[in-house]
């Protein structure tokens, strides 16, 4: 089984680092979608099957908070697990997003092993279901 993963970050470098991390972690990726902000991400989510979203918070056009908010109001999108990968570390922010279905939080800069573990746990859970 392989997964469709969406990486949402306005930095191309960060997207490349996450892409490389997924490869090193040997996550079976079918399609790796990339978006520069929340609006682009929602568009991709609308038209494609996505198994996991890795998203930043602070982005131009539409930030991660609004994106997650909109996802949580959509019947299908709210079932897609989201992992936040961000420098933003405010506890209230994180708690708020967890209540909207965010599954995990990774603080930048991150060790690739941390992302490997979290992605593995989430996708492993899905396999078990």
């Amino acid at each position: 089984m392989s997964y469709n993963i969406l990486v949402v970050d306005d930095s191309r470098t960060t997207r490349a680092v996450i892409a490389k991390t997924l490869k090193l972690a040997e996550v079976p990726v079918n399609e790796l979608y990339q978006a520069e902000n929340g609006a682009e991400a929602l568009e991709i989510l609308n038209g494609n099957w996505v198994d996991l979203v890795l998203a930043d918070i602070n982005m131009p056009v539409m930030d991660g908070v609004e994106m997650i908010d909109r996802m949580s109001k959509d019947g299908l999108m709210k079932t897609v697990p989201v992992v936040i990968v961000s420098t933003e570390g405010s506890k209230t922010r994180i708690e708020e997003m967890r209540s909207k279905g965010v599954r995990a939080y990774v603080r930048k800069p991150f060790a690739p092993e941390v992302v490997k573990k979290i992605v593995g746990d989430i996708l492993g859970d899905q396999n078990a279901e």
Binding site: K20, K23, L24, A25, A111, P112, E113, K116
Partner: protein, 158 residues
């Protein structure tokens, strides 16, 4: 047979009854690799991060530095039949034991160099026990591939 890896030394083996170990890892970095298919393993005990401070020594004793020790360890293991795709890498040490004020940050710098080299070479750390202000002894058991850390009277498996 027990093989003791001294500071700046590298040891690789394909003998199942061997144990490769190193004592008193403080700010130094102990790195083990193990290929479970070829049953080849090895260890290096690196003292300093970068070889550019003394390239003559680095050529003589590549294990002294993290940036030369890791490639040398891998090459030695390749010669015994290990392959990069199968290698499991573990790390221990990089503490602040003699530098509690953090003046030199040798441990931190050793660890940062390790991370950089591994990222560049597409290798993830399978498991680690680094940092803090403790001394560690590291064992690689060749019959199982297990890595054991002994520190302050406790044994833990990495």
């Amino acid at each position: 047979m027990n093989h003791i890896v001294g500071i700046s030394e590298i040891k690789v083996t394909d003998q199942e009854d061997d144990v490769v170990l190193t004592y008193s890892l403080g700010s130094c970095l102990g790195i083990t690799i193990y290929d479970p298919v070829a049953r080849v393993g090895g260890m290096v005990h690196c003292m300093l991060p970068l070889s550019k401070i003394d390239q003559v020594k680095a050529r003589k004793k590549p294990g002294m530095f993290v940036d030369t020790g890791i490639p040398a360890l891998f090459e030695a293991a390749y010669r015994l039949g290990a392959t990069k795709e199968r290698i499991i890498l573990k790390a221990a040490g990089a503490s602040r034991i003699l530098d509690e004020k953090g003046t030199f940050k040798i441990g931190d710098r050793n660890y940062a160099t390790l991370r950089k080299i591994l990222w560049k070479n597409n290798i993830l750390i399978a498991s680690e026990d680094v940092g803090g202000a403790v001394s560690r002894t590291m064992y690689l058991e060749m019959d199982t591939g297990r890595v054991i850390i002994k520190s302050q009277g406790n044994n833990t498996e990495l």
